[in-house]
Subunit: 183 residues, 8 copies
């Protein structure tokens, strides 16, 4: 086994979630991770879903499943219970009932452990972080992504304060201030 | 086909819901309806669940399924999509997150239609009402149950007010009062 | 008695719910089930509502009531308590208070058992499933509807993956994979 | 007509709410207002409820109805729509679903106007305030009740601060301080 | 004292609620009840508010106060505690936090009893019902309003079903049907 | 030390909150309080944030921090724990999940005490009130602001009622009315 | 003016909140800040409350008000609008309606700015931080409190890991790791 | 790199969560995964937390972080943004505000992707599934765990129905029944 040549099967509960799945797939591409979008309802075609999972389990590539389904989420739990690979549930949220659908992704019975994340690009990042554990290229792309995010924030602050920043020289934090409690 | 000799398969998501299932079974017995309690998780043993449903579908008795599972309810939707018989979802409620688990029973995708009811005895009553459509014995038991409920209320009011009730003679409602708007 | 020639009285709490009722009626037509839309508020014209129910009870056709009313739902419980036929509550949801109106359909007192479903087409499907217990034509239409839903999902997956599907031959599931836990 | 000899029919949805109704009745007694507790479910015995209302409408005493029913509140709206007297809905709250039952009392359809209050003693006070509009004895009891409440607060503050209160002489508020904005 | 010549002081928390107050005032006019719209914040000008209330209390006309204020409702409780007349809180709802502002109108401390209603026309109806206890003209207008509502519903049902209504002759309800449980 | 020459560091979690920060800054200007807008995510650049706080702590000007960040609010608690100056959390609200993000600002662990306020202009007012404790100019501006608010309300009421106000002479409140309970 | 000799008037809405107020008072004592507990309901004794505020405003000591009242919070907004000193609202929470009372403290109208905090000891800390802006003793006590909190955490981690901590030498963070993005 | 010898740093926000962390650690042990429990508040000792993360990043073992902190969860997002390893947030839930703390774990800003799971044993299972991607021993333990769960369910059903199971021979599913839609 190895984490090279990783694959993310993105399983949709219906075709209506296709755009959402493509956002995940595009973000995965940016981390150098391949994906395949499949459509299979845990309610309506459970046998076909089991067959899809069975097929994937014989595929030697390392896999993280990302399951995407709105409303009552049966898909994520069923997939998680049937495979040994990690499963990330990324349910498209609805405004109906203040988004209470999320609890169908969170309130899993014992022994079932899909991992929940709201942001589809975040789902891709999280999957990439898993493969990055033993894949230098993906590791590098994750690190570059995080670094770029941090640098953009620093740059945003710089641009905003290029003229007005306090010229008071910063004393060493040990002496008088902020974070010396824990240093 | 006929609605005589009806059967309610009560399907539990786990053994932990057994007591809840027995409340339903007992109430069904009072309406003269037979039931069988089965345990099968849609997440963990979907193939076994499909086999159970397949077996029941070859059973010629008229059936209403009652599905009982806490937390995220995958069971009710899967069963409903796989059988032509009516499915009643009767999820045991939890206080966690103010009982938001209920939305996993209500927010079904299109084309899937389990019917939701909170009270386990109510689930039995609703199933009995379905069989009562073409089963005189069950019909009689439903009617007797409803009649007894109504009479108990009238009796409760009588006992409470046997002395203090207004002795003002009631005029015909058409003349001066209440419900003449719609008569 | 028989479940041939079934009828669904669709009872609206006000004329404002007429469009919603017509969605139910149209879906029932597709399952080969006749319906009649009636308007009667449990609050404002309870005596007229009782008379409507009384009239229907003398009608020998098998019936499932579908009650449709927004805001505080008094209609569904009153109808359910007054008839022996099954009652399906299909309340049009409002965004106000995050849709908390639904609890007025769910929180019935003991002995009253309307069955709740959110989707109006789902209400029709559920009613059809009840009649399908002893009506071959309705049974066939329900089965065809479910089959078409399942096939469309399989087709959606096929179209999406006609080129990219994994060519790895699927091993028998007993050997290495997914659903062998429960087979 | 007159507001002398007032009567509050307290209508319970079931005998289970009897204690709650008695709290209201006792508080009404303290304001000098008579009451009668009746039991009648809008769901189960609507015709009996209509008859009760019809009887009361022929009773010449001025009336404010207080309706008490837990879970889905059909009673308050039905009563309000059938009588011209004011109706106060005082639903016993449940912790289930974070007390969402309250919305079944608040979300009335157009043209129906029961007035909602949570506290059973508050329901009695509000009814007394209505009769106090034209009943000197009840008016005096309401006023005495309010005055006692206010005085107890002043006394509580006095007792707590008898030693520690600031001895700084209070200047006239017009000069330097608080509420001069609106005087 | 008398309930003739009634007055509803409509107190707004700010000018922003003026349109809402005018809806109430117009509805009151239809019931033959006079009103005056005042603006006074319990937070910002409590002394002016107390003066307004003091002025009204010397006005001999029978009064029901209607208090209208969004967000955190301090106005209704303060007014209710300071006057012996009934107070109806009719808070304009906001979508923010799913309308949780309503709890600031409902969760009053002990001894304070504003009556809550959501619909501004309902607030006017409720106030009219109070005056109708001893004012024949207002009583007649309330009754006419309720009757018109009921008749419109019956008419809506008639128009919808003029052709399709079941011609099955309705048997007397005692014999076979619906509401005989409680008659 | 002194509260003259006060400064409000407004710390944003991201550039996306810039407009929101500027509303706060503009309101502070009206109270005569200087501010600086900084961008620093507690999640992404905690070391830079600690450095910013360290720099500010060496700045002798009296400071109140206002922290502005949407979604899960880590910023406010981290800042509050690291500085001795008061911290005001003013989170931009989202409709998602009915605004439940607010709890990430309120539910602080023990020993951490950012003060929460929803309205960005209110955050500025609250900061100004703090400096007003020992800054006559800011005190005067706060007082003028409050007075103007109160006077506008009185004026709004006057304009609305210039013709229709009751001409009944107001008796002294001690005699007959409202607020004599507590005077 | 000066921030020496600071005072926190703790205003309770009723005697029932006395214990809660004492928790605040005790915590203030630990920061070297004096306090006085007063009882005054904004609903029931607004004139007495205005008088209390008027008295305090003539007291030359620097003040931060802490207002404590359960249920619908009218007190905090009224106090904040009437004084120029900062006001901290610390409402005792109730489980009823999932603690929705908090919104009556948060949803203030424009121009009113009490600062909300849940933890009573946190309210004391926040008040102390305000006085610490220009009071060396209070500043020292706040700093000591924060430092002790931080040190206890470090100590807890040390005790837990004294044997099991990783002996891997930590490389400089700039080289390979964590927080180099923002340093 | 390799996924052999994996390590789960379990980071607690405070010592109060120690028991919760130990549940996770014990479950990890059962999957053959080592763990270390650390205590570090993102609010109070962010520099120490950064140092801990920096130390771990130089540790060559493959790591999945599990972050455990109640109330407002700042820890999980900060850790996730600072490390390339996957982060699983497993927040101990509170009943306060119906468990709304969960949103502080879910509502992460863009670019930050901790994966959320409620059950502490589920967090361990999910971490084990990640290591199982390239660790045969962990893979075997995960598979055995899942298999045991499935078998226990089948056994529970067998025991319950050993006598009462339907003896109707199950026809092949293709012919008459359940899951033929998708096979």
């Amino acid at each position: 086994m190895t984490l090279l040549n990783p694959l993310v099967p993105i399983i949709l509960g219906s075709k209506g979630d296709l755009h959402y799945g493509q956002v995940v797939a595009n973000a995965l591409t940016q981390f150098g991770v391949a994906s395949e979008i499949r459509i299979a309802s845990a309610h309506k075609v459970p046998a076909a879903l089991l067959q899809i999972l069975s097929d994937y389990e014989t595929d030697p590539r390392p896999k993280v499943y990302i399951t995407i389904t709105g409303r009552s989420n049966a898909l994520s739990g069923l997939v998680d219970a049937q495979v040994t690979c990690p499963v990330i549930a990324c349910p498209p949220l609805s405004d109906t009932f203040s988004g209470a659908d999320i609890y169908s992704s969170l309130r899993m019975p014992g022994g079932i452990a899909p991992l929940v994340i709201l942001d589809p690009e975040g789902a891709a990042l999280a999957a990439a972080k898993i493969f990055a554990l033993d894949n230098p290229e993906v590791h590098a792309s994750v690190r570059a992504f995080q670094k770029a995010n941090a640098e953009r924030l620093l740059q945003d602050d710089d641009e905003l304060n290029s003229k007005s920043k306090p010229s008071v020289p910063s004393l060493p934090p040990q002496e008088s201030s902020v974070n010396n409690f824990d240093l």
